[in-house]
Amino acid sequence: MITAAYIHIPFCEDICTYCDFCKYYYNKKFILPYLEALDKEIKKRYHEEVLKSIYVGGGTPSSLSLDELRILLKILSIFKINDTEYTFECNIENITEEKVKLLKEYGVNRLSIGVQTFNEKFLSYLNRKHTKDLVYNKIAMIKKYFDNINIDLIYAIPNETLEDLKEDLDNFLKLDIDHISTYSLIIEEHTILGNKKTMPVDEELDYQMYQLIINKLKDYEHYELSNFGKKRSRHNLVYWNNEEYYGFGLGASGYEGNTRYTNTRSLTEYLNGHYRIYEEQLYLNTTIENYFILGLRKIKGINKRDFKKRYNIDIDKIDIINNLIKQDKLKLDNDNLYINPKYLYVSNDILVEFMGVDYERYIC
């Protein structure tokens, strides 16, 4: 049963130096054709389920003009909702009071704002065009309409110090917002930073920064590797619980039935109605691998009963898990299997162990 949808809006007014998501420079003449194509895709593929979460991401969805935004929201109003978390991503530069009002009018109830940093030196390094003051002004405006807000923060930017990060976190705390996602800057290939052969910060510093974040955000629940909230994001939990979701739009990924798919990143292809570029029918073993890879991102980890219910496997029968528990890397209590907080930072090294295991032989 699908209960969530991700919708991708690939347009941006400026390209961030670290971004390797699917994006195009904002160009008026592509917007309406794109929205039309998106409308077609949704109508063709959506089966009228009631959605518990809708997430509009990008790109920069807030780069659309007021009129374009209205068209988008009308298209999305086809989704059946009931107590739904409806999130919209915005950038500080182009979110306006009119747009905020319009979003609210159409039922959006959560905004995720790409602040990335308050430090103007690093903002320009990342090619973000806002200023610290603008962040304060816009957030104050948004808070008049929304109380469910997330802020994205990037750390481990080359030359950033612990002191710089501390300042960023203090600035965030001053805003009194309920949710924050913090991401260590990854220098990916085919990004501006990648092309410049930028070197990441020292591992040790990266580690200290992560510890600093955990310390500074003590009043928030650290519920997932990179997420802290007084209220959890329902949409992200869909991913981490390995639940099904639609992915609509250019470059979007989705998971339906036992198929994971990714849409094309070519605008021309997409406008011609050729959506999918990649599709994979998952073997049960892969599904279970994904369940672990995603589920163990959560600090509380995986629920034993949920696992048993889904796959009819007793989690404590799996040898690799018992080995990792013996090595103190995993913890198992009455309800949950989770990564020892001491080793959270090297979770990849633990998740690797879940790859290539034959889980099917443990089925009761």
Binding site: S226, T262, I293
Partner: protein, 599 residues
């Protein structure tokens, strides 16, 4: 064929002096291979040989040549050019009456050329000196001619000038072979005496031996006996290579060919042994046979412990072709089950390792090579130790002796200084030095073999910008002040990293190993100390920092496939690692004791 019209010869040359090209050209000139069959270096049949440009296994080819209205049979017996295979060279030379000594027109005589030449002279062969590559722009024929005259004592008029590449001088060369090399002397009516100079394994016919009939003759159906092993067989097939196999009914005195007798055990067929008839044996075997003794030992372990049976099978198969390879199972606490393997030398070791990885697809960990030590115990008994882990307790040791070699280092005289410095650093004792010509010398040192095994070749290259050529012979065992040095990872001895080292060199080497391991072993989930220890005394230490790396990247739109790719890559990297206690150690680390810069 009349025995007077048979000529058996081989080619001796330094690596890269064009031996294989020359052999190919001779094959072409005698019509043994057609244009269509030509590929570079036809005689080097293993991929590895062609790639490395060296001959590892011998081959023998029969050629027909018409000269002065007579038909001649020429047997070309190819020899490996490397010092590791000196014994094989000597046996194939023993199957000949003559040899071509090939010298590069630009490079001149090299260390190996001389070593092999002396072997040929020991076997009383007629030598035809050949200067090859005369087409090279930097060929210096007068200089090389002078070298051959002054150092070896050839007559200038006997030296042939050839370009194997262009074919110039090949005809004259073939004529010289017929004119100068004597016909085989054996008596066809004597009792059978034939020399095994090589063997290989064929899955249908068993062991195929290559042999030279010295006296008498051998026919299909004959009952034969190997004189060194006393094994007896019935001959099922005889033939020669042209270079394709041609079957014949008998081989008689003077001829070279192959023999099959459904032999399954390589142990029965020893290179250098004599084959005779079981019911009418010759009185004594041909001279020169000696069992081959491996000089260099190392442990080979599969990275995946489940591949241990596969590794055994691989070694057994390789041994079918290579009697000099020795192996026995050994267990390492760090690496699990593996084999202690003995090789003729470093190149031999590298070749075997590479063939196991390539042809049998087994990822290997090789421990650092060791020589064989003689250990005199306090109770006056003597044991041989080929692995640091087999070294007895220090209290029980009276004295440790190690093998020494004598070097031939050919080098332009401006490098005398650096070479002497290098040899002193390698615990060498100066013996003598000879001038080959005005600008080149041959330097003799006595050096422990273990130092050669260590990093001597690399150092020699870098000290002389690649201008030195090097060869050695074993001179015997001498007492040395040696100790065993252990390496501890996270407080535990890793037996596979232990080495035997001279006491005076232990400190810098320990420091270098520890430092090198620190660089090679990736960060672990906790801090790992590395220590070098002699007895109970730590002499060097370094720490591997705890791993800090993680990727807290945004999981874009729940796109798990990217995350999976990352994890799969990481997993692939882990496969090349071996769990040693609780530490993941990469393959290269086990050889790190070899490849390092000492301060």
């Amino acid at each position: 064929m009349k025995q007077q019209n048979i000529r058996n010869f081989s080619i001796i040359a330094h690596i890269d002096h064009g031996k294989s090209t020359l052999a190919d050209r001779i094959l072409e000139a005698t019509g043994a291979i057609s244009e269509r069959e030509k590929k570079d270096q036809l005689l080097d049949s293993m991929d590895l040989e062609r790639e490395r440009g060296i001959t590892i296994k011998l081959n023998a080819v029969r050629l027909n040549y018409h000269y002065n209205n007579e038909d001649y049979l020429l047997h070309l017996i190819d020899t490996p050019g490397h010092v590791d295979f000196t014994y094989e060279v000597s046996r194939s030379l023993a199957a000949c009456e003559g040899a071509l000594l090939v010298v590069d027109a630009a490079q001149g005589i090299e260390a190996q050329t001389l070593a092999n030449l002396y072997q040929a002279l020991d076997n009383n062969l007629t030598i035809i000196p050949v200067i090859n590559k005369i087409d090279l722009p930097n060929a210096d024929i007068p200089k090389v001619t002078k070298e051959l005259v002054d150092t070896v004592g050839f007559d200038e008029k006997d030296i042939l000038l050839v370009s194997a590449k262009t074919g110039v001088g090949i005809k004259e060369l073939l004529e010289a072979i017929i004119e100068r090399i004597p016909a085989p002397k054996g008596n066809i009516n004597d009792k059978l005496q034939s020399l095994i100079f090589d063997s290989y394994f064929d899955s249908y016919r068993g062991i195929v031996t290559l042999l030279r009939v010295v006296n008498g003759k051998v026919k299909i159906g004959d009952k034969i006996k190997m004189m060194a092993t006393n094994a007896t067989y019935e001959v099922t097939e005889l033939g020669y290579h042209n270079p394709h196999e041609i079957k014949v009914n008998e081989l008689s005195a003077g001829e070279v060919g192959y023999l099959c007798a459904s032999i399954k055990s390589i142990e029965d067929v020893k290179v250098g042994d004599t084959i005779t008839l079981e019911d009418n044996p010759c009185i004594k075997p041909l001279e020169g046979y000696k069992p081959m003794k491996p000089m260099v030992f190392c442990g080979l372990y599969p990275i995946e412990s489940s591949k241990f049976p596969d590794l055994r099978e691989a070694l057994e198969k390789l041994k079918l072709n290579d009697a000099s390879l020795e192996f026995e199972p050994e267990t390492s606490q760090a690496l699990g089950f593996g084999f202690r393997c003995g090789f003729l030398g470093l190149l031999h070791m590298e070749i075997i390792e590479e063939r196991i990885e390539r042809e049998f697809n087994i990822d290997l960990i090789a421990t650092s090579p060791s020589v064989v030590y003689e250990v005199l115990l306090t109770d006056k008994s003597m044991i041989l130790v080929d692995s640091p882990s087999k070294l007895p307790d220090r209290q029980r040791i009276e004295e440790i002796r190690e093998p020494y070699i004598k070097t031939n280092i050919f080098v332009p005289s401006e490098y005398i200084g650096p070479i002497m410095e290098l040899c002193q650093n390698k615990r060498g004792n100066y013996i003598s030095m000879e001038y080959i010509d005005a600008s080149r010398v041959n330097i003799h040192y006595e050096i422990p073999l273990s130092e050669i095994v260590y990093d001597f070749f690399d150092k020699l290259k870098s000290y002389t910008k690649g201008y030195a050529s090097f060869d050695y012979e074993l001179v015997g065992y001498k007492p040395s002040n040696l100790v065993k040095m252990d390496i501890l990872l996270n407080g535990e001895i890793v037996d596979a990293l232990s080495i035997i080292v001279h006491k005076d060199f232990a400190y810098p080497r320990g420091k270098a190993i520890v430092e090198n391991l620190r660089k090679l072993i990736p960060r672990q989930q906790f801090e790992v100390p590395i220590q070098a220890v002699i007895g109970t005394k730590a002499i060097a230490r370094a720490d591997i920092k705890a791993m800090r790396k993680n990727v807290l990247a945004k999981c874009y739109g729940g796109d798990v496939s990217r995350k999976r790719k990352l994890l799969e890559k990481q997993k692939e990297g882990k496969k090349r690692m071996k769990m040693v206690g609780s530490v993941e150690v990469p393959q290269e680390a086990f050889l790190s004791v070899l490849s390092m810069e000492e301060e």
